[in-house]
């Protein structure tokens, strides 16, 4: 019997035009948390999909509990005891927690001794037991669509646990969790470790990795770089292995100088009483205003309200003293406001369209001849210039945007707004799901824009990013602005203090 629960060795996988995995390897020990790290596009997800039977390997072998196995599809993987919590959750919103957990393997009973029917009583009893095991106290009869993102994630984990898994893959499990919820997740992971489950933990968050994992495997460009014991590893070491070079600075040098106040929001209140209310803030020319808060602080909702994607009851928005009337995004855009939305796939990219179309869509009106004919030459010039300026890596401007990596998609989307030359730029989680190298490039772009005199609002859930990039940090809690901190004085502690100032009822 081998010391490993599961070994993947010499795994190769090619897609048309790309070699996604080139002799990758991963060895998991029972009762250990194994972090799998690498930049986006390094092949982490592809490797996991090979393990879980979503992709078939071109080459390589999987040894599970000492025996060579082939896993043809996820169902087989589940039967063997391999479970995966996907980065993008795929619950069925209109069904209950219990039904989601036992989907495809409902407990059955015989009605009148012959007709097989679903045993609902047993299903919900089992669900309650499971939820207790993962320390979640919500109703097993609740519809999944009514849960918060973090609760949905707990449901997914409960589902994995219910399969009595021996290997559990967690793909970016904390990307939408608050710190309390992360703690809860870590407790569950500790419990699973004690039960001898081998856990693969994929994340970009260094502090989490160093805290929770026992071993780290690093990948780069589909290749296996190495496996290290977590004891004594440093963030710098991991990053240098991930990017293949030493990274001296996580953030660019900041040379932007905030000027006079140009943008003001006064007494801004949502039509939804649970959302943002009585928000006041000012923004200066050339300033980067970080917006901090826990999940549910209504930061995105506030910004979408300002941008005209959501309705408000009271409140005024002024640019250079002039009141702006914004009822829909077009009004905001026409008046010099741009907004990079949080969810790239849902509200950002137009997947099947080309890079060129994705860049030019918000600024097409500037390129009309005779008022109605689009000037293709000017548009192509804009697009080429944009690709060059943003250092977007793409084979051509005709390439479909969905085939680019997350970082490059984000550069295209920032480029879309720059094409409009806005005065105020709202960036909602601009580096979410982007690898370290591309993050730095995006920070440089943001700094450069501020230096050019743009007023920038940056929502972020990464403390390091807020502290490293903001001139001022605005902190929100439960729909209210609870305070401002100067960028130089901002620390994780004082931000968290303001972010947890809940109103006492």
């Amino acid at each position: 019997m081998s010391e490993y629960r599961l070994e993947m060795r010499g795994v190769c996988k090619s897609f048309p035009g790309v070699k996604a995995l080139n002799h990758a390897q991963l060895c998991l020990r029972p009762g250990k948390v194994h972090a799998l790290m690498g930049e986006n596009g390094a092949g982490k997800s592809t490797l996991m999909k090979c393990m879980f039977g979503i992709y078939s390997m071109d080459e390589g072998e999987i040894i599970y509990e000492g025996e060579k196995v082939s896993i043809k599809d996820p169902l087989e993987a589940l039967k063997m005891g391999i479970a995966m919590v996907h980065q993008e959750l795929q619950p069925i919103p209109a069904r209950t927690v219990g039904e989601n957990i036992f989907l495809g393997r409902y407990p059955m009973k015989k009605l009148l001794g012959i007709i097989p029917v679903v045993d609902h009583d047993k299903m919900y009893a089992d669900t309650d037991a499971l939820l207790q095991k993962v320390r979640m106290n919500f109703d097993s009869h609740q519809k999944v669509g009514e849960l918060s993102v973090s609760q949905m994630q707990s449901v997914e984990i409960a589902k994995a646990v219910s399969a009595n898994c021996k290997v559990l893959i967690l793909d970016e499990p904390t990307s939408s969790l608050t710190s309390n919820e992360v703690e809860a997740l870590f407790r569950i992971i500790e419990d699973l470790k004690a039960d001898g489950v081998a856990i693969v933990y994929i994340s970009h968050k260094m502090d989490e990795i160093l805290r929770i994992s026992d071993e780290v495997t690093i990948m780069r460009d589909g290749q296996y770089i190495g496996t290290w014991d977590c004891e004594g590893l440093t963030t710098d070491f991991i990053i240098s292995k991930m990017v293949g070079r030493e990274l001296t600075n996580l953030f660019p040098e900041r040379n932007n100088v905030p000027g006079e106040v140009v943008f003001e929001v006064e007494d801004f209140t949502s039509i939804n009483p649970k959302s943002f209310r009585h928000v006041n803030f000012q923004l200066c020319k050339g300033e980067i205003l970080g917006v901090a808060g826990l999940v549910g602080a209504q930061r995105t909702e506030l910004m979408e309200g300002i941008f005209g994607l959501r309705s408000h009851t009271t409140g005024t928005i002024r640019y250079q003293g002039k009141e702006l009337i914004i009822n829909r995004p077009k009004d905001a855009i026409d008046q010099g406001i741009a907004m990079l939305t949080e969810d790239r796939r849902a509200t950002g990219i137009m997947g099947v369209l080309s890079i060129a179309d994705n860049i030019s869509i918000a600024s097409l009106r500037q390129y009309l001849d005779y008022g109605f004919i689009l000037n293709d030459k000017k548009i192509e010039a804009l697009v080429q210039d944009n690709i060059k300026k943003m250092n977007t890596k793409t084979p051509s401007s005709k390439t479909q945007i969905k085939s680019l990596s997350g970082g490059n998609q984000q550069k295209v989307l920032i480029g879309r707004w720059l094409a409009n030359n806005p005065d105020v730029l709202i960036l909602d989680e601009p580096t979410r799901g982007i690898d370290v190298g591309a993050k730095y490039e995006i920070y440089c772009i943001i700094e450069e824009l501020a230096r050019a005199g743009k007023a920038i609002i940056m929502i972020s859930s990464e403390m390091a990013e807020l502290i490293g990039m903001s001139d001022r940090v605005m902190v929100m809690c439960d729909g209210r602005v609870t305070g401002f901190i100067d960028g130089k004085d901002a620390t994780q502690e004082n931000i968290m203090e303001l972010a947890t100032q809940f109103e006492t009822v």
Partner: protein
């Protein structure tokens, strides 16, 4: 940088990308060389005439498809336009004249009226879809039956004929007479005209770009400043006009009109679009593609007719072709394992 492909690679790429088009080309060449009269101007004229009507409807429905919608009312709307055209171009002295109070009208005025009515129906479908958020499949299914009912009621389900001479003359107008061949029907020019117009609209105007953007990602389009609701209404309105135009031509071409005309034309148009590469998942589709798709579908019907296949079997063959086309289209987007 682009790598230059050799000519065989380009050809193989085309065959792989357009299997149905290639298959139809091969089949028609075989049929053409084995059966007399297949390669004839008369047959070509029939093909182009049929194609013109379906192409206009397909152009209309393409906007709906590209924005991830559909329009099931196309055929019934065309039929309504056909009967409306019919009643407005009936001779003053014709005994079966439906609306005796109606003055004699110039056929182009009739066309404008019919287009306006088409636009109104399109506006209604578009509003239901954009504002009431009814899925396009259901909204246009409802409109389809409503339009049909209305059409049956006001025509008393009777066929309409007895058109005045100007109208008939226009549809007998021929172009490009060669030897014994009397020439192609003049109204085929409308296919050319609207083909160019739509190509321009889809490629050179913000209307087209916004349409593709909505199909690519409706939410992203809204965030980027596209007024999605207004654009959807315009798309369905334009579609309504196209069905009306097709209906006008249907009446002229057949010399009569009835509420039963145009049945399942929307399905043929959707089939033509799909064969021509309009993606059912939205955001993709070109005017030349639509033209080729419709032509191939019409060609298929004529080939089957020449092969003396029982007309009832034609439906089965057509259905199989449509399913094959969509299945192959979807395969391009399904992640390869």
């Amino acid at each position: 940088m682009k790598t230059k492909k050799s000519i065989p690679q380009v050809i193989w790429g085309f065959i792989k990308g357009n299997p149905i088009v290639v298959m139809m080309a091969v089949v028609s060449i075989i049929v053409g060389f084995t059966i007399d009269n297949f390669f004839s101007f008369e047959n070509l004229n029939v093909l182009l005439g049929n194609t013109t009507i379906r192409f206009l409807i397909a152009l209309g429905v393409s906007g709906c498809l590209i924005t991830k919608g559909t329009d099931l009312s196309a055929g019934r709307q065309a039929a309504l336009a056909a009967t409306l055209t019919g009643v407005m171009v009936q001779r003053m002295d014709y005994a079966g004249r439906l609306f005796t109070w109606m003055p004699e009208m110039n056929m182009w005025v009739v066309l404008l009226i019919v287009l306006a009515i088409g636009a109104v129906i399109g506006l209604i479908s578009g509003s239901i879809i954009a504002y009431l958020k009814v899925p396009p499949f259901i909204a246009t299914l409802g409109i389809q039956t409503i339009v049909y009912g209305f059409n049956l009621i006001y025509t008393n389900a009777q066929p309409i004929g007895g058109f005045h001479q100007n109208f008939k003359d226009f549809f007998n107008w021929k172009i490009l007479a060669i030897g014994e061949f009397k020439g192609f029907s003049g109204y085929i020019l409308f296919a050319v005209l609207f083909g160019l117009l739509f190509w321009f609209l889809y490629n050179k105007t913000t209307h087209g770009k916004y349409m593709y953007a909505i199909g690519g990602n409706e939410n992203a389009a809204e965030v980027s400043g596209v007024n999605v609701k207004k654009k959807l209404m315009q798309i369905y309105m334009l579609a309504g006009c196209m069905y009306a135009f097709a209906g006008f031509l249907m009446t002229g071409k057949s010399g009569g009109a009835s509420a039963g005309m145009g049945t399942s034309y929307e399905l043929e148009a959707i089939a033509g679009c799909t064969i021509g590469g309009v993606s059912t998942t939205g955001g993709i589709g070109t005017v030349p593609g639509i033209l080729v798709g419709v032509l191939v579908f019409e060609l298929l019907k004529i080939v089957l007719q020449f092969l003396k296949v029982d007309p009832n079997y034609n439906y089965i063959v057509q259905g199989l072709v449509v399913i094959t086309a969509v299945a192959m289209d979807i395969r391009k987007y399904v992640a390869k394992k």
